[in-house]
Amino acid sequence: MNKNWNRREFLQKTSAATLAAMVAGMPTSLLSSCTSPKIKAKADTVILLWMAGGMAHTDTFDPKKYTPYEKGMQSNSVLSTFKSVPTALDGIHFSEGLQSIGNVLNEGTIIRSYVAADLGHILHSRHQYHWHTCYEPPQTVAAPHIGSWIASQLGPKNPVIPAFIDIGQRFTVGEAEELKAFHTAGFLGNEYGPFFIPDPSAGLDSVKPPVGMSYQRFEKRNQLYKELIGKSPIGEYGSDYQKESLQRSMEQAYMLLKSPESKAFDLSLEPRENYDRYNTGRFGLGCLLAKRLTEQGARFISVTTEYEPFKGWDTHENGNSRLTEMKRQIDSPIAQLIKDLKQTGHLDRTIIILASEFSRDMMTEGRPGAKVQEQVSQPDIINDIKHYGMHRHFTDGCSILMFGGGIKKGYAYGKTADERPCKSIEKPIKIAQLHQTIYHALGIPADTHYEIEKRPFYTTPDGNGKAEMELFA
């Protein structure tokens, strides 16, 4: 298995070198395990807003011709099941129900040409694995989540806030094992793994003393621990890293739990009025928690609408009515998140990405020209409203939103066709580019890698991901 020593040794050396260089007032290019010139970071924090389950672009951020429901209508004639509404950006429309996000589009960029991978017969978690790790499963080694890469490269922004926080996903649902396979630091080591907060309103429980334990008792417990360590005869065996890392980590956990920053996890401290703007459910409160953590110095936060087979965005039927509800859940909190971070000045240094593993279409399963086994039956003639919606998995032409962290303000990137198949027709962008764009914003060079089993494993396959510079202001 992997030994961490390469990275450790490297970090030790480089942090010393970085310090030395800073003292000498010289620029340094030693920050990462690579030879490329140092990139000036535009952002320090990442918030990933994960639309789990496949968000249909034509019914959300890339609406096409609207065809209202009527019995006996042709499936093939339906491109969008919602009206379009204008956004803050001239000529750019969103689907009805996303007005609030549309109103803050002047703060960010809409990408309309994301092309998800062809992985054959669709399994959501498999595409999600690919989105989050940049690698197609299975892999010969355990590939790290993008959050873990960032945690390992940049460390926590505030030492008492875990570098990678994952909000909203429970692992008791279907496909849980597949979800676990990418919610991991993989070969980078558990140290960089996600800190899970499945329920944002219970976030505080994860960073306070055990239920029922007062802070006073908590401190005394720690005091006792230190005393007993000092008095234990095992001291005679001298020092070693297991013992030292154990004590150091316990001390860190103790510091986190009694730190003022841990209050950031407590949503009840948010003014009522603002709390209500976010409170559209677990996702909305997740956005609120992300906001509070960003303000206290988080590094990477993922907030998900939560993946559960056939729930959320995973609309195999009733797409139209289900999306009305999904939009209600996301519209207000996301817009509020942008506004709040802008107001506190954090938006400039925080890159926010809204994405989904792929899109949906009423007719095409997979990609035009590369259709895969159909998983949803869709009648040619719609006689039941439950068939009115985007129910098939569509991988070509997905929408992504990006805000802050040096991303262009009020900009539309890429385009999909206005007729079926509504696929990317301009500036198609794929996962490796997208990841490297995020890494670039954080100042992490493209050839960042980790040596595992003696071979280099890059943040994007073979280190080939190129940042899309056009997205930056």
């Binding site: 298995m1 030994k3 961490n4 020593w5 390469n6 450790r8 040794e9 017969h121 669709i122 399994l123 978690s125 197609e136 499963p137 299975p138 010969t140 080694v141 355990a142 875990p162 496909e175 094992e177 597949e178 676990k180 396979a181 991991t184 080591g189 558990n190 140290e191 429980d205 994860s206 960073v207 306070k208 003393p209 029922g212 334990m213 008792r217 005394k220 417990r221 006792l224 621990y225 007993l228 360590i229 008095k231 095992i234 065996y237 001298g238 020092s239 070693d240 890293y241 297991q242 013992k243 890392s245 154990l246 150091r248 980590s249 316990m250 956990a253 986190l256 003696k454 071979r455 190129k466």
Partner: protein, 799 residues
Amino acid sequence: MTEVSLLTSFWLWQFLGRLHPLVVHFPIGLLVIALILEFYSSNKKDQDFRSGKYLILLIGALSAISASVFGLLLKDQDDYAGNTLDFHQWSGIATALLSVGTFYFFHLSKKNNTTKLSTVYRTLLFFAVVGVTLAGHYGSSLTHGPDYLTEVLPWTSESDISGNPEFNLASLTTDSSNGKLNPSQIAGLNLEVRSIFAHNCFKCHGEEKTKGQLRLDRRELVMRGGKSGEVIDPGHPENSEMIRRLLLPRGDKESMPPKGKTLSRQEISTLELWIKLGAPWPANSNEKSIYRVAELAPRKPTIPRDDSGLTNPIDLFVNSYFEGKNVSWPSVVDDKVFIRRVFLDIIGLLPPPEKIDDFVADNSPSKRELLVKELLDRKDDYAQHWLSFWNDALRNDYSGTGYITGGRFAITDWLYESLKSNKPYDLFVKELVNPDKKSVGFIRGIQWRGTVNASQRVEMQAAQNISQVFLGLNLKCASCHDSFISDLKLSDAYAFANIFSDTTLEINRCDKPIGKMAGTRVIFSELGKIDSSLSVDGKLKQLAEYLAAPKNGRLYRTIVNRIWAQLMGRGIVEPVDMMDNEPWSQDLLDWLASDFVENKSDLKQLIFLIATSKTYQLPSVGIKNENDIVSSGYTFKGMHRRRLSAEQFADAISTVIDPVYPDTIRQYDPFKNSDSSISLHYARASLVKNDIFLTALGRPNRENVSTSRSSQANLLQALELTNGLKFNAVLESGSKKLLQHYSASDQIINELYKMCLGRPPEEAELKSAIEKLGTVPKEEDIQDLIWAILLLPEFQLIY
């Protein structure tokens, strides 16, 4: 980087680049003619040639610039490099600049006819012609080879061309009929082959120019092949692309060499013979394989003799190692440390306090051997401990990816029974490689729905996992492209994977088919030939026999090293999956492996031998930094301290405090085949699904083979231990239980120290604990005390 890829990808640039060889002839001709005209008209005052020269120089300058630009375009799309290219490039660019200058001054001198301007113009023209001559020369050297001109000169020595005047193919051919060449004959043949390459092929397939990405100047590059795949198939000249191309008629566009002299029949025969003999390239020829390659064959070194009373062969080997390293033997650990060590190492549990007392009180001189034997005989406890190790290695688990779509099979039942019955390791391996329904999960790998990368098809997973687990060999690189970390080739990986396939696999390089079908052979082909005409079952049967054969020393060295590492905290070779690395004692490793085979591959016998050695009983050695353990200057001095594994920790709490996992959530019933209806009050952690608690403490998700765990603690782990629900629940129930049995603080403290640490508290410890509990202990204070004791390094470490 962006520019380069644009240049190389866009068709128009490619096209223009290829016009370079055409365009270059314009400046050559025009500039030379201009110079000739200049000489011709130098003494004449007439203006006859002026307008002609004007046009010639203008076109000359323009074509020189075009030639330079096109040349730069060509450079990036073709495989040119090296000094000659640099000379060519810069002399070409200089020529272009000079010719522009020439034209400019000619133009000026035409306007104001001064001598000064004419001199500048003539000088520039002269140097432009020198430049174009140099550029032309280097350019043709690139295209035709540096000795294109000189090789036809009568005074160029012929003996240079045939590398070895004493080389006699006929004698080799005759000798080889009996199968083998002696090493000097092999070296001679290899030298001759390299000489043929050097004289016929290097001009396009060498360091300076690498057409079709093929280089023939170094062993690994020859074996790697080029853009269209491998060029030789060792053992099979008739399948080798190189021979096919050499034999193609001149004029066929794939014929090699494409121009110049063709190879003689004798030269081709030499190459054929060389390939037929497996393309030998001896390591001691002038450049070596840069990778250490371990011996495959078993070896049984003589046990060193010593009169100091050591009897265990391990100790005798270590003694001789210590003498070489000037390490002296410390005294062995006391009974309490020993009993805790063997309990945790052999059955994964803490020794019960009464057992410790009895053991310490026992005066029998052979009590340590007896204890080891007794523990090894606790079949279920042994199996439930080693199950975790093997689950990691065979990536077997109760939950995980793949199960959801029927793309994965558990082998728990087979594994548990195999461990419980102490199945001989050769049989164990055979049953995994050539499985029945119960053990098929290992080679079936994990299949996700949809299409997967070619390097991760299940046959390749089988090849990778078998190589890693059983042979300590990393095949993962070579399953996508030729390895950069060993001599393994893509074709080796595919040939190995092909054994597991019922249809012939097509070789993919970096997920793209290269139009070649895989061969069928064992990764160490010396072990035996696989009959590719057999069904998968037939091939697997052969493979299983070959792998488990005693002559496969690699298999047995790998397992004894793994067991050693489990008991000693570090392998004799590290990392344990890289068995080509140098062991700290080759003799010890080789002897252990051979002895293991002689003892019917009995894993318990091996553990017994190690655990009863004086070496195992040495005081533990601490490590300051996790990387010291694999550093090259490592010296063995004794067992290394380790953290309890996730399972050992959970089981320890379950036994001394209160169950972490109730028996009801067990995923496998270890007693289903036994008559007795044994029911524990808790489930061993090796028998439950992975969860947040176990993950935080280092149990891997078994999506990939994992053969060692990190002992390093981290923040997420500490948070789980500080306020995790699972741990907290046990603290609560445990303190309740204690209060039911005891009421006085000192009783509780004594009991906790005895149960957890196998000793009474020292005075200072008792004092601190009493301070915490007071005279009438409260439940929550007891919880805190238990928490503090369980997190003491003394509890957390195996020392």
